[in-house]
């Protein structure tokens, strides 16, 4: 599957002018609130009409201002999961789930089956409930199931976890991952939360003020030092692909291999060989110019400084290349000068094993 988007719309306060492509897997539309994320997915779904531009899904044009073509929302076969679930209040869970299925008679055999969907989402027990009896997390799972059962060619998810508390969020994410594994319906996932993106997305489209600032694999976009103000959101960090080497040699400490060596983190229950993403926050990384002795820090990597942020703030971000992987360190400008760190310097980056917390690990 592929979707090609090139749309413009004047929304009064700002203008959306976005062009990007998305393929299989989950593509995240990432950006601060007000960046135009929701407007873009609304235009993809057909609920909002762009002023000009073109939208093509799997070779079929859904919108083209040049030829005045506008496929109505009900004919686009694009599922939409809203932030507030929007279950129909006058139907029970089962009828909500079946609403889209009953309206999509023509479909291939690869369309998600009712029994499979409710099993994967764990909502078998809820079928006869009224929607007001559901918790926030249950509502969202039913909403995802309802969208899947309309046999969409593309699934739009507009911050489906934003209305849930942190604990519920981590309960829902595995369900989204397993629906992706089981049914493989390409998805565009709107979010402003880094941890959700790391868990779910393969590709990232970074939106700033209605336009696309960058797009590509999540790691590439997240690790670009020039986008640190946008992707960092006050807490910058890099994303490092790792795989589980082993677990539990030292009690509760897992060893994760990456391009530049081996991370030791506090984690249990990781399966050997699993590929994960680590988010290493810049403020958790300290620097030394010689190999430190007698320190408690378990992760010490030798690397070369590739860039140093240059502005008036008292703290600076130092970008370090460790065997091909990128690690950022946030230190004071004072330390920077004292240690005489500049691009080209050899440094030792130190990351505490306990600083890398569970949400940064993609399971």
């Amino acid at each position: 599957m592929s979707i090609t988007v090139d749309i413009r719309k004047n929304l009064g306060a700002f203008t959306v002018d976005a062009g990007f492509e998305a393929g299989n897997g989950i593509t995240t539309l990432f950006g601060k609130s007000g960046a135009g994320k929701t407007s873009i997915v609304q235009m993809l779904s057909g609920l909002m009409t762009p002023d000009t531009g073109k939208i093509v899904l799997n070779g079929k044009t859904l919108f083209d201002s040049a030829s005045r073509l506008q496929v109505p929302a009900q004919d686009r076969q694009i599922g939409y999961v809203f932030q507030d679930a929007r279950l129909f209040p006058h139907m029970n869970v089962r009828r909500n789930l079946e609403y889209g299925t009953r309206r999509r008679k023509k479909q291939g055999n690869d369309a998600p089956k009712f029994d499979d969907v409710i099993a994967v989402l764990g909502i078998e027990q809820l079928l006869d409930r009224q929607t007001h009896q559901l918790s926030g997390g249950e509502r969202q799972r039913v909403a995802i199931g309802r969208a899947l059962l309309s046999s969409p060619r593309l699934l739009l998810m507009d911050e489906p976890l934003a209305a849930l508390d942190a604990e519920r969020k981590w309960e829902i994410i595995p369900f989204i991952q397993s629906t992706q594994r089981e049914f493989g319906i390409p998805a565009i996932y709107v979010s402003h939360a880094v941890e959700e993106v790391l868990q779910l997305a393969d590709k990232m489209v970074l939106l700033v003020d209605g336009g696309v600032a960058a797009s590509g694999p999540v790691e590439d976009v997240m690790n670009r030092p020039d986008l640190i103000r946008v992707t960092g959101a006050g807490d910058p960090g890099t994303v490092i692909p790792v795989w589980v080497k082993d677990e539990g040699v030292d009690a509760g400490i897992a060893r994760l291999s990456f391009a530049g060596g081996e991370f030791r983190v506090v984690a249990t229950g990781l399966e050997k060989g699993t590929r994960l993403r680590l988010r290493v926050r810049a403020r958790d990384v300290s620097l030394a110019t010689s190999r430190p002795k007698n320190v408690s820090v378990l992760n010490v990597f030798e690397g070369r400084v590739t860039a140093v942020s240059d502005d008036e703030r008292p703290q600076a971000e130092v970008s370090i290349d460790v065997g091909g992987a990128t690690i950022w360190s946030q230190i004071t400008r004072r330390s920077l000068h004292e240690l005489e760190i500049e691009p080209g310097s050899n440094v030792f980056a130190m990351v505490k094993a306990v600083a890398i917390d569970r949400p940064a690990i993609r399971t």
Binding site: A73, F88, Y99
Partner: protein, 231 residues
Amino acid sequence: MFSLSPEELEALQLSLKVSFWAVGISLPFGILTAWCLARLEFPGKVLIDAIIHVPLVVPPVVVGYMLLLLLGKNGALGSWLHDTLGITVGFSWQGAAIAAAVMAFPLMVRAIRLSLESVDRRMEQTARTLGAGPVDVFFSITLPLSGSGIVAGTILAFARALGEFGATITFVSSIPGETTTLPLALYSLAQIPGEEGGALRLMIISVTVAFAAMVAAEIIARRVRRRIAGP
């Protein structure tokens, strides 16, 4: 005192028949009109809205006379109906039903329009993303979600139709067994000395039927609301 005379029973049955038809025929139009007023923007909307509300603000006798001019045997529309289709609505119970429907229409439209306007448009959008076209959305989402208002509007119109007097007597006169509904029968009895007992009985029947309708409306509306929003 509560054994009804044949005439009184006839008036009650006729009243119910006239009101049922009046409401039944005008309900689809009422919903359509309310939907147009609630959802569409078109030139002349204010004028249409005003015309619909005319029966509410002018004396019922005026409405009855207008109907007579329009639908009477020599009326603009009435003569055409008579000549081409052989239908005469003047001085018949069908005419009474038309008078009642016209008088009750604004009340029905107002109640339904209010409930349509309170339907969450986002639910309709959601239904569209699930493959439902506009007509499908209307019947599967909009109509059920505005159910309580539609019930309220229907019953309100029914009660208004039961009580119709001025337009009816002007348009179709008072013909026993044909157009003499409860209020008309009550009025004639009240004119005759010594018939106070009958008038009183008809009054009690009128109040009881109207009261029962309102209670039923409230119960149904509550049920619909509970089904939608939960207890």
